[in-house]
Amino acid sequence: MHELSITQGLVDAVLDRTGERTVTAVNLKIGPLSGVLVDAVRFCFDVAAAGTPLAGARLQIDEPRGRGRCRSCQDEFTLSDLILLCPCGSADVEVLSGRELMLMSVEVA
């Protein structure tokens, strides 16, 4: 359950910038290849935010699709997991997107 410490880090990072202002929304970007489960982050957020100016903030999570490019045939395709295998059979695949684990912005009152 590493999502708990990651979510705690998220709350700390926001508080570093917003101080005591009430945070109404937090915008994240979490890709399917990041190793972090979106549902678990949502579950942990309420606990981590309790008693801070983030309590009750809306958690908006953008989930970009995983995309890869084959260095052998130059084809681009969707990656649903970290098994980097091109339909052409090559395993020489560059991950273009999907590993995002970003705190994008917050909205404060």
């Binding site: 705690q8 508080l15 910038r17 917003t18 970003m102 705190l103």
Partner: protein
Amino acid sequence: MCTTCGCGDEGGTRISNLAGELQTPGQGHLHSHTDEHGRTYTHEHSHGHAENHDHADSNGHADGHHHAAPATETIVLEQNLLAKNDLLAATNRGWLAGRGVRAFNVMSSPGAGKTTLLVRTLTELGGRLDAGVIEGDQETSLDADRIRATGRPVIQINTGAGCHLDADMLRHGLDALSPEPGSTVFIENVGNLVCPALFDLGETAKVVIVSVTEGDDKPQKYPHMFMAADLVIVNKSDLLPYVDFDVDECLRRIRQINPRAEFLTLSATTGEGLAAWYGWLDGATSQAAAPTSGTARSVPLTGALTKAH
């Protein structure tokens, strides 16, 4: 459960001293909860929206009505969620490099043989490898006790409910261990193939152990861990005749995820293949030790071992 940070219990993370006595650092939590929020950020807008005011011209409503609801301000952050840990890890990396200390983050599932490998390594290399150990477990000092029996310095970190070590915990572990310049530190992470993969500690290299009783499909089931590995060790090779584990297949699966990782097969119990592990340590330690001339060992470990056997 602590509702401030969600960590396991009142005690939080505990770190032993060199004598094995457990201590709770700080106010009961290793990670600091910021009390003073330094208001150093800069506003994109000069006005603070402290009061309700007329947005007739700027809000796009043609009729110019008054908004009663408080306006919100968007603060763009665009930072990695692991940025705080990564920063602390970078600090650790600098601290280690400045002292010529190599730190190997040893990770595996529970029971793959991390402690057994470390105990055997420390025992066989003895004084030829100046090494200390930082042990990470949820509870107990059982592993640290096994290391201490070899006569090497060891620090136990108990993470409580935590499933991994992070850079801040290693920082405290290094402070407690106080490794000699030019020495080697083995960090035995919490037995877990999932969470430790994401947390950079500032280590010199990540060593992932998979034992043959676990199955050769582990790399694909836990890709993040094997993607992060610098060295993958297949342990318990003495049990290969009794289990359905294909070493070549395991290597193929690792290569699919991580083309750059090195790969060793050994048995920490019988000693089969250990020379290659000591050779790897020798190469890894010599490289990192290069900047601190005079403090590093000059005798290659493999050579010394060959003579010993």
